[in-house]
């Protein structure tokens, strides 16, 4: 029973364009949603988050959107840069104790 799904294993975007990564979840008790970025041979690093009381959070080139009725969140990166090439995980949590990770989406930014 996968509580969190990232249905696109990979995504290829041209440099300067917008990257949109999607995440669907089933547990309506999740109250905090995080995105992590992972480079090869490194641990995941925190990127951006949103609480369930908001529907949008922006940090520089990164914006996360939350649609609670659809149990869907998305991460927008604009403009995309080569350094954004990495694996992105969405990770909702319930009560800030235990994150549940999606399978990840490998983003490749092409020059």
């Amino acid at each position: 029973d996968q509580q969190v799904k990232q249905n696109s294993p990979s995504l290829s975007v041209q440099e300067g364009r917008i990257s949109i990564l999607n995440c669907d979840y089933t547990n309506s008790m999740f109250d905090y949603f995080l995105w992590y970025k992972k480079y090869p041979a490194e641990g995941p690093t925190f990127l951006i988050s949103i609480s369930s009381i908001k529907d949008k959070n922006e940090d520089g080139r990164f914006t996360v959107f939350l649609n609670k009725s659809a149990k869907h969140l998305s991460l927008h990166i604009v403009p995309s840069q080569p350094g954004d090439s990495a694996v992105y995980f969405c990770a909702p949590s319930q009560g800030a104790q235990k994150l549940v990770f999606g399978q990840g989406t490998r983003l490749t930014i092409n020059p």
Binding site: V4, P44, S49, L99
Partner: protein, 113 residues
């Protein structure tokens, strides 16, 4: 400030051997976690701890044990290693109850042959 440090980075085990993955954090975080990541999959929680002397099972605890004798250290013990435990293991920590943002170590890649 080292953050979360994991050792070893790589290890090959034979079936039935045992070993301990070490994890140390210098941020005085109360909460510590062990995750495993299999190829093409997300991270799955093995065990976690909310403070020294307190541990609890996560989603996939079978075949593992943990202890938390100090705030800084959270070792993960593998007893009787099996090929199914071939994975990349990540240790993580966070300050406390209202902060879900985890700081991760660089990972330990374990192969069981």
């Amino acid at each position: 400030n080292a953050g979360v440090t994991q050792t070893p980075k790589f290890r090959i085990l034979k079936i039935g051997q045992s070993m301990t993955l070490q994890c140390t954090q210098d941020m005085n975080h109360n909460y510590m976690y062990w995750y495993r990541q299999d190829p093409g999959m997300g991270l799955k929680l093995i065990y976690y701890s909310v403070g020294a002397g307190i541990t609890d099972k996560g989603e996939v605890p079978n075949g593992y044990n943990v202890s938390r004798s100090t705030t800084e250290d959270f070792p993960l013990r593998l007893e009787l290693a099996a090929p199914s435990q071939t994975s990349v293991y990540f240790c993580a920590s966070t300050q406390g109850l209202n902060n879900p943002v985890l700081t991760f170590g660089a990972g330990s890649r374990l192969t069981v042959l």
